[in-house]
Amino acid sequence: MTLQKSSEEFFTEFSENSAPRPLFRVANIEKRYGQRIGCTGVNFDLYPGEVMGIVGESGSGKSTLLNCLAGHLEPDQGEVLFDTRDAGLVDTVTMAEPERRMLSRTDWAFVHQHARDGLRMSVSAGGNVGERLMAVGARHYGQIRDEAIDWLGRVEINETRIDDRPSAFSGGMQQRLQIARNLVTGPRLVFMDEPTGGLDVSVQARLLDLLRGLVRQMGLSAIIVTHDLAVVRLLADRLMVMKDGHVVETGLTDQVLDDPQHAYTQLLVSSVLQV
C-alpha cells in the first residue's frame, strides 16, 4: 500500500511542476498472468529527451511492464499515452492496431535482449537497417544503401560488412546492428530490454558508451530495463525500482543510487541481493 502511494505522489509532483508536455504518460498499468501479478499500479511521465531506467530482481515485472508499454502485451488495466504527431496524447492501448503497428516502426523502437529476436538473421546487415526505411516507403536503392552505410558507421560496424548476414557477426556486433536497425527512422521513443545482457563485460562497456553517445546526440527518449545498475548509472536520468510487480521507489538516478530510501533499494544498491 505505502509503496504504491509513494510512486503516485512522485507522479503527481512531477507532472505538476513540469511545464512541457510529456512525450509518454503511463497511468495505473496492471498486467496479471492468471492469479499472478506481472506488474501493477505503475504510473509515470516521460519527457522528451529523458531516459528512464527500470531495475529490479529477476521476476520483478520489468519485462512485463516494458512489453505493456511497447504494445507487445495488452495490459489488463491502465493507459499508455503517447504524444503522437497528428493527435497529441493518445492512448496506445485502445488505439487501432494498424496505427499502433505504424507507431512501432516509425516513432517507436524496441531493442531486444537477444539480438536474434530483433534482427532478420537471413537478411544482410544492410537489408536489416534498410527495412524500416522501406516499410515507410523508401524506394531508392542507392539512398537506402547510403543510409545503411551511414548507420553502420554510427554503430561502429565497418561498411565492408554491409552485405554480410548477422549470423556472421559477434554478439556485440549483432546488438549494435539491432540498434542501428531501430534508430534509422529517427524514432522519438526507444524501449530497451536488457540491451547489454548476455554480452561479455568488455563488450558491454563499448556498447554502453555507444548507446550513451547516440542518446545524447539524437536527444532520444528511452525506457531501459536492466539488471545492471552500472547501465542505469550511465544512461538513465531517472530510475524506477520494481519488486514483485510493484514500483517501490522512483527518483533521479543518482539520488536513488546514492541515497536509497526503500529497504529493498538499499539492498539492491549494496549488492547484497544478487540481481
Partner: protein, 288 residues
C-alpha cells in the same frame, strides 16, 4: 462413358470453388482460402489449377493446357486427357481457339481476349513467405498493407547480384492494393498480366485461390534506380525467327551445341506454318 460427375468434382465442391473464385475476382490479388480436394494426381501436377478448371469448365468450352509454354509435355497431356475423359470437352493447342487455358509457368505469347479464362497452377501463393514464415503474420501484413518486406527481398537481390535477379514469380502489386505472387512465370510475362482475359490462380496444397478480373492494373515491384525489366534471352527463335517471344535454351548435341527456341510451342508452330505458307505462295508466284 464415365462414372464421374462433369469435370470430376461433385457439384457442391464446384460451387464452393466458384464462390472462392468470385470472391477472388471481387478482391483482386487477395488470397481466398478454399477446401482443396484430393485429386487423382499428385500435388506437383497442379491440383489447384485442375480444381479451378473443373469449377470453371462448361460443356461448350474448348480447353488448352500448357506446361512451360508447351502443349506436349507429360503434365500438359495428362491434364488435357483428364478433362477430355471427365468433362468431354473439346481440346485444342491453338491459343485463339481455346476458351479456358490452364497453364504452368507461362502466359501464351498470343494476346488473349475477353472470352478467355487463363487458369494458373500455383505452388506457393504467399509472396511474403520468403521472409516471414508465420502465416498469422503474413495475413496481418496483407490486411494492413505492410509490404516493406517485399522490397527488402529485392534489396537483397541487388546487394548480392548487382541487379534484381528474381527471374520467376516476380512479385506484383494489384490495383495499388494487394501484393501478389504471379506464380513461377518468367518476369518477361509480367507486363502481359494487365489483359482482357480473366486470370484465375489455384494453389492446391496451400488451399488458396486468387484472381484478376479483365484489365486489372498489375505493377511489378522495383526501385526507382533499379526499374523492373521484362527481360528475355537476347536471341531470336531458331525455328520461327521470332525476336519478341520468350525463349528456351535447348541443347541439341553432345558437343554442347545449343539453340534458342520459343517456349510457347503453339506460337512457334503457327509462325512456322505462316512462314511455310508464305514461302509456298512465293514459289507458286515464281513458277506461274
Amino acid at each position: 462413358m464415365n462414372d464421374y460427375n462433369f469435370a470430376y468434382l461433385d457439384e457442391q465442391t464446384k460451387r464452393m470453388i466458384r464462390r472462392a473464385i468470385l470472391k477472388g475476382l471481387a478482391i483482386p490479388g487477395y488470397q481466398v482460402p478454399f477446401a482443396s480436394r484430393e485429386m487423382p494426381m499428385p500435388f506437383g501436377w497442379g491440383t489447384g489449377g485442375v480444381q479451378v478448371s473443373a469449377a470453371t469448365l462448361t460443356p461448350e468450352d474448348v480447353f488448352k493446357v500448357i506446361d512451360q509454354g508447351a502443349d506436349d509435355t507429360t503434365n500438359a497431356v495428362s491434364i488435357r486427357k483428364f478433362f477430355q475423359a471427365t468433362a468431354g470437352v473439346d481440346t485444342t493447342e491453338e491459343t485463339d481457339k481455346a476458351t479456358v487455358i490452364q497453364t504452368r509457368h507461362r502466359i501464351p505469347e498470343a494476346a488473349l481476349n475477353e472470352d478467355q479464362i487463363l487458369v494458373y497452377q500455383v505452388p506457393i501463393p504467399e509472396p511474403l513467405r520468403f521472409l516471414e514464415p508465420r502465416e498469422t503474420e503474413t495475413r496481418k501484413m496483407h490486411s494492413l498493407e505492410e509490404y516493406g518486406l517485399m522490397h527488402v527481398k529485392l534489396y537483397e537481390d541487388i546487394a548480392r547480384h548487382g541487379a534484381i535477379a528474381t527471374a520467376y514469380a516476380y512479385p506484383v502489386k494489384v490495383e495499388g492494393r494487394y501484393v501478389m505472387d504471379p506464380s513461377p512465370i518468367p518476369k518477361f510475362d509480367n507486363p502481359k498480366m494487365t489483359m482482357p482475359a480473366i486470370q484465375l490462380f489455384g494453389a492446391g496444397r496451400e488451399q488458396r485461390i486468387y484472381a484478376l478480373p479483365p484489365y486489372t492494373e498489375v505493377v511489378s515491384l522495383d526501385f526507382e534506380d533499379y526499374p523492373f525489366e521484362a527481360s528475355k534471352a537476347d536471341h531470336s527463335c531458331e525455328l520461327c525467327g521470332a525476336d519478341d517471344s520468350y525463349l528456351d535454351e535447348v541443347i541439341v548435341d553432345d558437343q554442347g551445341g545449343r539453340i534458342f527456341v520459343c517456349s510457347d510451342t503453339a506460337y512457334c508452330a503457327s509462325r512456322q506454318t505462316a512462314l511455310q505458307d508464305a514461302a509456298a505462295a512465293q514459289h507458286e508466284e515464281i513458277s506461274a
